[in-house]
Symmetry: C2
Subunit: 327 residues, 2 copies
């Protein structure tokens, strides 16, 4: 069991992330050992633990920081993230994630439904055990509500070739940015910062989340399937149209539409063609530019944080690194 090598440069953070993983592990306790094993392998499948990392770093700004509590809340957020991934894989009919078989492909949709539910509940259990007030739980519930509205919103827009950039941003705000925002907010707030300060941290987290998701969507058009760990443009086949494609549609609508209309019937050579067209119509470049805008916004926000802790420098360099990632 090891965390991602990217954390090697930050020994204190790395130690707490290791503890986060350990706590996640000990929280999952199922009688069905096959399912437990599947959930464990999901936990250990090399996710970067970005949300816990942000939570732990932002918690350093508070004067009442309790390391045990900070780790527990970080584990809660990552369990929630894992639960949504397991359920997303059912919805996306995904067989592979991070180069490993998904729970639904190994054990079927039924087990995946309950396994995700179980992790949702485990998340709440940790939150209830370690939060210092009902307020955090209230905010967490509201965030989760937004995340699920975002997921349902994305489903609504499947195969919608008229989807707007605004709608895309609204959906990723819910689907991805909300959880980054929550991590940063809770990290600060639960270590005793003012609500106003914590809300600002939440805003920074939102920019990070939006940039992160756009970059993730760009990587679908710049990487090989081996690098992504799943088939090329599987999302497009499923009718999920992300930013590079939406930008390309603005320029090359008539060329792209006949392909998109094929939906699930798209062949591999046709998705290769879409891949090329999205590049040649400038979709990738434009999406990268928008990601850059949100990245700068996030970095500016971090830069304005007080210099009271070395967490600030770490936030700057980690955020630069992950938002400049090419894999």
């Amino acid at each position: 069991m090891n965390i991602h090598p990217m954390w090697g440069k930050y020994p204190e953070l790395a130690k707490e992330l290791n503890n986060t993983l350990k706590l996640m592990e000990s929280t999952v306790n199922l009688k069905n050992k096959d399912v437990e094993q599947a959930v464990m392998s999901m936990i250990h499948s090399g996710g970067k633990l970005l949300r816990p990392a942000y939570q732990l770093l932002f918690s350093r700004f508070g004067e009442q920081r309790d390391p045990k509590k900070a780790v527990a809340l970080a584990a809660a957020i990552e369990l929630l993230h894992t639960a949504t991934l397991i359920h997303d894989d059912i919805v996306d009919e995904a067989d592979i994630r991070r180069s490993l078989p998904t729970i639904r492909s190994q054990f079927g949709n039924s087990t995946a439904v309950y396994a995700g539910d179980y992790l949702f509940v485990s998340c709440f259990k940790l939150l209830a055990d370690y939060s210092s007030s009902l307020k955090s739980i209230q905010l967490n519930s509201r965030s989760m509500e937004k995340i699920l509205s975002g997921e349902l919103g994305q489903m609504d827009n499947r195969y919608n070739v008229d989807m707007t950039i605004e709608k895309y941003l609204e959906n990723i705000s819910g689907k991805t940015a909300e959880l980054f925002s929550l991590s940063c907010f809770v990290g600060a707030y639960e270590s005793g910062t003012s609500e106003r300060f914590a809300k600002n941290c939440g805003k920074i987290g939102e920019s990070i989340g939006i940039a992160f998701q756009i970059i993730d969507d760009v990587l679908d058009y710049t990487q090989s399937p081996e690098q992504i760990g799943k088939p090329v443009l599987e999302d497009v086949r499923q009718g999920v149209y992300s930013l590079p494609l939406l930008y390309a549609l603005e320029e090359g609508r008539d060329t792209l539409l006949p392909y998109l209309e094929k939906g699930e019937a798209l062949t591999n050579s046709e998705t290769d063609k879409i891949y090329e067209l999205v590049h040649s119509f400038g979709g990738v470049a434009k999406a990268q530019k928008l990601a850059e805008k949100y990245t700068q916004q996030a970095l500016k926000g971090i830069d304005r944080l007080p210099d009271t802790t070395d967490a600030k420098q770490q936030l700057l360099s980690i955020t630069q690194a992950i938002l400049a990632r090419t894999n």
Copy 2:
């Protein structure tokens, strides 16, 4: 929108159950109006609201009863119950529940996954907004964990012709009795009773829940499909073997096994035959007897409650009525 006619005899309770339904309705707020409509019709599909009813009645034993809070916690429990039903229908591949199409059959498994998740979260939102302490949320999370372990336990034992009565009771303790127990506990505890008193209420709820589930399972063998609102012995086809069948297996194992081995391939005339055999091997009678034992246990517990409120008499007559139900 109307609650079940069985509550007509208890006007005060009926009023609060109506408010519970209204609050559930206003809590569900989805952009996708189709899904919202589906969730609403599920809420209004004539469930008896037993768990909220018990919660509201047990809350009358506390000296700090706040009617608004009691209703909110009752709505939270029923939202949780509804969430588990939506997910159960995915797992059971059920097309019909309470004589209405299930969410998965109307909108597909994907929508059903997120719709259930959304109701889970709505439940937590209400709990966080209305509980007076983190303690209730902690207990709620633990109960939900047990419920999901029970569901996963039941899945483990699908098509297991060697399943024991003990295992069956353990599974229904998690799957059904836990939520009844939680309702009774939370009702009392959150209205200010001592923890000891509330725990006793939880124990009464557990007996009610076990009796309730056994009777539910018996009804599969005593009712027509129209009365049940779903196909006869669909559960047996899915490999879920309940108490009447397990008792019958003790007596007529060799006769029953060849049928059970057919699993999903069972024809209607074969399930009719199983239905008959379970009766003739005494499975129905024995299960009814065990349900009676738990019913008596519950009634004895209620009888020992203080006479400070007329809730006690109502608990007695409602529990007698629902545990003597034939439909």
